[in-house]
Amino acid sequence: MHNRFNPYWKTIILSLGCWAFIHVAQAQNTDSTKQESADEEDFSMYDNVGFADEGARRYCSPKIEGLSPAKLISIGYDFQTGYGLGAGAFKSQDKNTNWSQDSVNVLNSQGLRLGFNIPVISRTNLVWQMGANYWEQRYFMEDPDGSALQTNHPLLQTLSQNGLRTLGVSTTVFKPLDDKRFLLFQGSADLNGDFSPLGMMPLKYLKYSAALVYGLRPNEKKQWGLGLARTYRVGELNYIPVFLFNWTDPANKWGTEILFPARAHVRYTINPRNMLFGGFELEGQSYRLWNTNGTPDKFRDEDLEIRRGEIRLRAMYEFSLKDFIWLSVQAGYRINYRYEVDRLVGGQEIYRAFGLLSDEPYVMENRLGNPLYFNISLNLVSP
């Protein structure tokens, strides 16, 4: 009898033994971590560890220590104080119509600035963000003698009636090559012009910008790189070298945030939630003159674009209002670099390369004064 049941008992005991072994092993593992406290633990034991997966690699991060936080959502307003605007004389394409020069006082120009940036892929070996932005600049004008605006100049008419707008999408890709080297790509497609929010320009007027930077990140507090950009920041299309230099001092107080020539700032960190900046930003785009609201008939057919480029010397203060909500206030001096109007030739932009490849004159040469400006924005910042 005993012999007949013995094999079954053996089987049951063996199975329970397996279960007990697994359970005890698991419990020991849990207990060993539970019982340690910070006071008792010898932290030196963690000096001599390496990746459990021997094939794993370290990659450099897109950020450095001390850098100002990236903005996921930005809602801002830009305000320029008064300045004079002189619009140049020009002839229509068929030479049948002449517009003489005219001048106005711009009482102020102002507008909303919205920006969105959402991480799409955020991995150790690849970071990809997509963004969108909407900027507007509305012009409030009067005649030079202080009377209500009366002008026949189509540029002044469309600026006062319609203003300028930018609606665009952008993408940023950060590709670390190893723990020290990386590639950074930024691209954008923008509709720029005197269109209204309800009367959008066709997508064929999109302007494409891009930059590719090869960089090094030798330590946690410095990254730098060199690259090439296709840009409209000086108003017209150009291909220029770019220089990236982000740096933070050992005490985490001073630093730089530079992507020259687009922007360059010195940063002073009061604490990680309060930062001061001084420097400049180069802003600009090519704006299609497309809107027929308030402008002469067939002005749209003139194939004209404003080449607007400006330098903004500025001081900024960015701080956390509460947790991840940051306020950014800036004040500065807006220096006009270019505000000329160019005519497309056969639908193509004239590529001058700063006068090296072409000295074709602009069809309308304009003069702008340089006002003070202010900007305030509320931002949701990234983790």
Binding site: T11, T33, A38, Y46, N48, F51, A56, E65, S122, P250
Partner: protein, 152 residues
């Protein structure tokens, strides 16, 4: 045949009991992990039924100005700014869900003193996707952490 049936039944019961042990799958999170920046090492422990991660190693352990061990100087609560970073629990209150995911926790960033909502996903036994976010997961950033083991 009877022996085989009995063995399989016993094994099935054991497996079932093992499967219903609370938290066992979640315990795969236990261990030492390195964030992608390589500046720290974080040990994940289990306290009760929740998971916590504390800093156990810093690439730069001492403050460059004072030469003393780094403390949580960026904490918005001034009373906590003297707490040593080594031993600091930067991952808190994670609960194992299913499908290799832990949620309901927070992650603290000592570099800026901010605490974010956080979810953890184990993409393979040695890799974690740690997603810190603000309010909704779309407004966040994922960092990839790698499991560490004692060097042979």
């Amino acid at each position: 045949m009877k022996k085989l049936t009995l063995f399989l039944m016993s094994l099935a019961l054991c497996m079932q009991a093992y499967a219903f042990m609370p938290g066992d799958d979640g315990d795969r999170l236990l261990g030492v992990w390195e964030p992608s920046n390589g500046r720290a090492r974080v040990k994940v422990e289990k306290i009760g039924s929740k998971y916590y991660g504390k800093i156990v190693w810093l690439k730069e352990p001492n403050d460059p100005k004072s030469g003393l061990p780094k403390t949580d100087i960026n904490n918005p609560d001034a009373n906590l700014q003297n707490v040593p970073l080594k031993g600091y629990r930067m991952l808190k209150d994670f609960v194992y869900q299913e499908n290799n995911q832990w949620s309901e926790g927070t992650i603290y960033d000592p570099l800026n003193g901010s605490t974010y909502s956080c979810t953890i996903k184990m993409t393979d036994p040695n890799t974690l996707d740690i997603r810190g976010y603000i309010g909704v997961s779309a407004f966040g950033r994922t960092d990839v952490w790698k499991r560490l083991a004692v060097k042979k």
